[in-house]
Symmetry: C2
Subunit: 146 residues, 2 copies
DNA sequence: ATCCTTAGTAATAATAATTCTCGTTTAGAT
DNA sequence: ATCTAAACGAGAATTATTATTACTAAGGAT
C-alpha cells in the first residue's frame, strides 16, 4: 500500500504537523527511489529540487516521518542510519560487503516466537530476522559491488 | 569455552600479531566483565590498569580481536558499537529504552531458514534473530533503567 | 483579508563515535 | 645486543547526528 502525495498531506495534518513543500519533497523522494537510503542520500536527491534545504532539515523530517510511522529506521552496525518506507512486515538480507539491504517477505519468519526465558523477562514488541552473507554482485568479485 | 590468557597469547602469535600488555589487558577485561560493552566502557576499565592507554589503541585492539574472531560486534541502530566475546551461537533481546542486550539461547532460532528467494540471490553466511521490547526494569518505569 | 500564535526552516555550532597521522616505543627475530 | 616491522599514544580530522537560535511562514481566530 503506497501512500500518495494526497494521503501524506492528510497524514501530516492529522498528526498536527504543517504541510511544507520540503516535507512533501522528502516523501516523494522516498517513494520514487525506494530501497533503504541513508539520510545523506535523501538529502542529495532532495537538493536537486530544493538546493537551499539543509541536511538538518532532512534529519528533522525523517524524525517526523518515523514518529508518524511512515518510515522505519533500519540501521546495522556502525553504518549510517537508513530508512525504509513502511509496508508489509518483513525482514532483511544484508550483504556484509556492500551493505546492500534486500527485503525478505516470508510469513514463516513472522511466526518466530521468543522462548520462555525472554517472555518472562521482556515485554516483547516484535522481532526481526536478518540474514547476512554475500549478495550476487559481491559473490562474484568478493569486493563490494558498485 | 572461555579463552585463557595463555590461549590468547598463542592466538595472537598464530595470527602473526605481537603480544602486548595492552592487548592482554583488553582481553582480560572482556572476559572478566562479559556482557556487551561499548569501546568506551572497555577503555574506562582498561585505563585502571594502563592509565596511559589511548582510546585509539582500544579501537585497534578490538579490530584485531574481531579479525581473529575472538569477539563479535553487536551493534544496533545508531548506538555506539558493542562487542561480545564469541561463544555458542545465540540471538539477542534488546530493550528499546535502555539498550540493554540479553543473550538468547534457543536451538529453535538456529533452525530458521532463509526463503528460496534469498538463497537464490545471496550466499547466506548466517542469520540473527533480534527480539525487541521493554526489559523488566524499563517496563516498570517506562523510563530507561539505571 | 489580517493578525497572532505556533511550528518549521536553515545556518551554525556542538557533540559523539570513530578514524587518521605521525613521531616514538617495543616485541620478537636475528 | 641489535634491528625492524608492528604497535602505541597523542592529538587532529572526519563523519553522523543533535542542539541552538533567529527568522519565516502556515493556519486558525477574528
Amino acid at each position: 500500500m503506497k501512500l500518495s502525495v494526497k494521503t501524506i498531506t492528510e497524514r501530516f495534518r492529522e498528526s498536527g504537523r504543517k504541510v511544507t513543500p520540503q516535507r512533501v519533497a522528502v516523501f516523494e523522494v522516498l517513494c520514487e527511489r525506494g530501497g533503504h537510503p541513508t539520510v545523506d542520500q535523501i538529502y542529495q536527491e532532495v537538493r536537486k529540487r530544493f538546493p537551499m534545504i539543509s541536511l538538518n532539515t532532512v534529519y528533522q523530517i525523517m524524525e517526523a516521518l518515523v514518529e508518524m510511522k511512515i518510515v522505519s529506521p533500519v540501521s546495522h552496525g556502525q553504518e549510517a542510519a537508513r530508512y525504509e518506507t513502511d509496508s508489509a512486515p518483513h525482514h532483511h538480507a544484508i550483504c556484509v560487503l556492500c551493505k546492500r539491504i534486500v527485503d525478505v517477505f516470508d510469513p514463516a519468519l513472522g511466526r518466530v516466537r521468543p522462548p520462555r526465558a525472554v517472555k518472562d523477562r521482556f515485554q516483547v514488541l516484535g522481532h526481526r530476522v536478518e540474514f547476512f552473507g554475500y549478495c550476487a554482485d559481491c559473490q562474484a568479485s568478493r569486493q563490494p559491488a558498485h
